[in-house]
């Protein structure tokens, strides 16, 4: 763990503040048009499916599965250098939306497409600036 160097942080703005505040409490919040339609990520001021700007936030379970992944030995920022390989996955959430996420605390050799994931528990999640996952028990 490279405690001296902070991870790059998302830039907080009005569009993503509820999402970032949710994650600080270990919750995964996604947006949806108030009239319904698919949940979506990443945060934005308009629903990319319906065009609605009347949006609501929904807390989701954080359970899902790995669609595909890469094992990054050459990260983009020195704060990650001591944590390689970074396990970067395309995650399909059970509630329907997909996102990119890190998988924490797993051996690279134990990662496979299709593996079930869950969110890191809040006490472990705090240090990660974006939703992070672990292999489901």
């Amino acid at each position: 763990m490279s405690a001296e160097i902070a991870y790059p942080q998302p830039y907080e703005d009005e569009d993503n503040a509820p999402f970032l505040a949710g994650w600080r409490e270990g919750k995964l919040l996604l947006q949806q048009s108030r009239d319904g339609g698919p949940l979506f990520f990443y945060p934005r001021p308009i629903c990319p499916y319906t065009g609605s700007t009347d949006l609501v936030w929904r807390e989701v379970s954080g359970r899902g599965k790995i669609v595909s992944f890469s094992l990054i030995t050459r990260p983009n920022h020195p704060s990650f250098n001591e944590e390689v390989p970074i396990i970067l996955a395309e995650v399909a959430l059970d509630e329907g939306a997909s996102l990119l996420g890190r998988i924490i605390g797993a051996e690279a050799a134990s990662i496979a497409s299709g593996a079930r994931l869950e969110l890191l528990p809040p006490n472990e999640a705090r240090r990660y600036p974006l939703p992070a996952f672990r292999l489901a028990a």
């Binding site: 990443y42 669609v67 990054i72 983009n76 395309e90 497409s113």
Partner: protein, 382 residues
């Protein structure tokens, strides 16, 4: 109706791994060389298109100020490295609609490996906020996800993708502009250092500095025997929406009309210049542009050869994988090489009887993949 608009000249600068030169010195040099090759000078230019990640705070109009030219049409690329091919399509439309008669299209950047990471970390708000804080490894991490998905979905094999890097290197050995000219075998490719598994070193391009340029104008203005006709061209952006790692890039949305309008199909191409940021994206272009069916790229790669003298000459100057990726110039390198081949000026890497070829661009990495695809078909004027 056959187009009477095409490319009258092309220019390329030397590529440098590190440089003290300014961006404008590269852009201006490429532009001047393209005009020289067209038998023209800056006074003949009344349209200007620039594609460059590093251009801000400048833009096309302040570039015109630097070059000392007054123009009636100005275009600023917005589609990453799909932009240069798109700029040629749009330059053609500008000439057809009377906005300009002669358009200088330039693409270039000057950065190195560190500069490339900095660029990717801030590439878009989506990536900056939701990719960079993950340690996503720049484009390598994202294209690792795409490549693994292609391998697991279709059985695509690394040793087949490696044919692209290896065969292009063989062509690069005959191109004095290529930064990487050492021999490469398939074993070298397979055993290379892991960067973002399954992406390894020879799947990646070398960020560098340089620029490329072409002159788009009516064919009657081109030097005798050197005109290259633009038969057709299309672009597509943000396709498919809301997919993080699609196994198609957008070319499939226009491939049919691209060939219909040109009057030729994939098998009529004497060479192809595809966007080779990664071999997996070349494989996806071969599928999307109809050289093989979706999912069959691996077998197609195994059954063909891709150097200048191969069964399907591909990126005949070595491509970005061997020449280096000078930022957005990577999206125009393909065009200058195509024009060079169609003018029969490619020396000892000349494709025999090169009459027509396809060029594709790709780029503007968003939240997971390149958002923009473009393609043109070019033909030597007999």
């Amino acid at each position: 109706m056959t187009s009477n608009i095409g490319i009258a000249g092309y220019g390329r600068t030397t590529y440098e791994k590190r440089t003290t030169r300014t961006l404008f010195s590269f852009l201006a040099e490429a532009g001047r060389k393209a005009l020289d090759s067209a038998g023209m000078n800056f006074k003949d230019v009344d349209g200007l298109a620039i594609c460059s990640f590093e251009l801000p705070p400048d833009n096309t109009v302040t570039a015109a100020e630097q070059l000392g030219i007054s123009v009636s049409w100005a275009y600023l690329g917005t589609a990453g490295s799909a932009g240069p091919v798109a700029s040629i399509i749009n330059a053609k439309h500008a000439i057809e609609s009377g906005q300009a008669t002669t358009v200088l299209c330039i693409a270039g950047d000057n950065y190195d490996v560190g500069g490339h990471f900095k660029l990717m970390d801030n590439f878009s708000r989506g990536l900056r906020n939701y990719g960079t804080p993950l340690g996503f490894g720049g484009a390598n991490g994202l294209f690792g996800i795409i490549q693994r998905k292609h391998m697991e979905t279709y059985g695509t094999r690394r040793e087949d993708l490696g044919r692209i890097s290896v065969d292009q290197r063989r062509s690069a050995q005959r191109n004095e502009h290529a930064l990487l000219r050492g021999p490469m075998t398939i074993d070298d490719y397979m055993n290379a250092r892991v960067i973002a598994d399954p992406i390894c070193l020879y799947d990646c391009v070398l960020p560098c500095a340089g620029a490329e340029a072409v002159v788009v104008t009516t064919l009657d203005r081109a030097p005798a025997g050197k005109a290259v006709r633009i038969l057709s061209g299309f672009e597509r952006h943000n396709h498919p929406p809301m997919e993080i790692a699609p196994l198609r890039g957008g070319w499939e949305t226009f491939a049919g009309k691209l060939y219909d309008k040109a009057g030729f199909g994939p098998r009529d191409m004497d060479f192809v210049q595809l966007y080779d940021d990664y071999p997996i994206m070349v494989a996806i272009q071969l599928e999307d542009l109809g050289f093989c069916k979706k999912g069959e790229a691996s077998a197609f790669l195994a059954a063909n050869s891709f150097s200048w003298d191969g069964s399907l000459p591909l990126n005949t100057g070595g491509g970005q994988l061997s020449c280096g990726q000078a930022g957005i110039a990577g999206g125009l390198l393909s065009v200058t090489e195509a024009v060079c081949q169609l003018r029969a000026e490619a020396g000892d890497r000349q494709v025999a009887n090169a009459r027509r070829g396809l060029v594709a661009g790709y780029g503007m990495v968003g939240y997971g993949h390149g958002l923009s695809a473009s393609s043109i078909i070019l033909e030597a004027v007999q």
